[in-house]
Symmetry: C2
Subunit: 193 residues, 2 copies
Amino acid sequence: MSAVDRRKQVLDAASKSFALFGYKATTMEQVAKIANVGKGTIYTFFTNKDELFDEILLSAIMEMKRLAEQELRSDRDFFDNLYRVLDALLEFRSEHELFIKLSQEVRDIGTPKAHEGLTKVENGIVGYLQGIVEQAKSTGEIKPLDAQVVSFVMLKLYVALTTDFNQLHKPLSKEQIKEYMMVFLADGLKASS
Amino acid sequence: MSAVDRRKQVLDAASKSFALFGYKATTMEQVAKIANVGKGTIYTFFTNKDELFDEILLSAIMEMKRLAEQELRSDRDFFDNLYRVLDALLEFRSEHELFIKLSQEVRDIGTPKAHEGLTKVENGIVGYLQGIVEQAKSTGEIKPLDAQVVSFVMLKLYVALTTDFNQLHKPLSKEQIKEYMMVFLADGLKASS
DNA sequence: AACTGACCAAAATACAATTATGGTCATTCG
DNA sequence: CGAATGACCATAATTGTATTTTGGTCAGTT
């Protein structure tokens, strides 16, 4: 059994445990047991619990990028691509066991590391969007504004419509969400005169 | 000393105490002492601590409405009015001792009642905006969309630009914020061809 | 040389004792 | 006589302490 296999064993075990129990309730012993490995072995691959967690988040972020990439179609315009990418990313985020568990953990006991992790994922998304926005800027499809601000707002807007809003009201349908996204991002509220 | 005066004494004392110490650290005895009344007297005007708190929040919300009203100018268009109203409201919210203290309290110890209170204020703002949006809808200045969703997004957008964004980056200037607000709300990102 | 698990200091938890607080009401005061 | 009061009480919050758990190490095993 090669070193690479063991590393993967640990990584898989940790993935499962973090997704199942969250950051805090995942113990290194637990991970070792699931991975069928001595606890010391984990430390030959990862310097500590944090780094192990980071590595798992990083691979989740890369997975998200892969998914987003799939949604990009050169035969569609920027806004259509944007909507499908955002949708894929947010759907992935809201269905992935790990993120669900981490969100609960933040809400219920406020584990700082869990919060940090979710922020890191969010930044990953914004960073990815930023690239798309930059490109749309260079092709002249959108106004020449700061791509960081624009992509940040995009994410916030999407989260506001999909998550924040239905904390207080009836959730919006996918079609409604798409409509509002397009209104605010593409054309604005102003009545076309 | 009339009953009305005593009620106001209590209200003023409670205002001071909530703003100075937050919800949790404000005790009824404390309020009584500041108001120069016996503790029992408080309960002749308010059934409990919660209701006392509610009354204070309500008066803050009404004060905000008053401020917003001042900003409305019939010689300006909807978007200009909107920006100035939002600005006044958010500035008030971010400078009012009570709200600063409650925000800290939520962040540091997560007092549910403090969180609830801030949400109530936020809902007050959205409710107020809703009225303005309805009116702009009826005059045909903006597209005929659900006013509740639109005003909710407006607040979220403003908070994203003024508060959320500078948790991670350099704060935006007032001019930049205004520019971005107008882009997303009025005309959208799409390059004017 | 790779791997392991007993071991340790430090952190988290559980529990008990103590204190503080919201709310009441018999008594006082104007 | 009715409005005002503060001692009083049940319960919630806090503090202090004993106990357990956990991240990380490293001498020894495979």
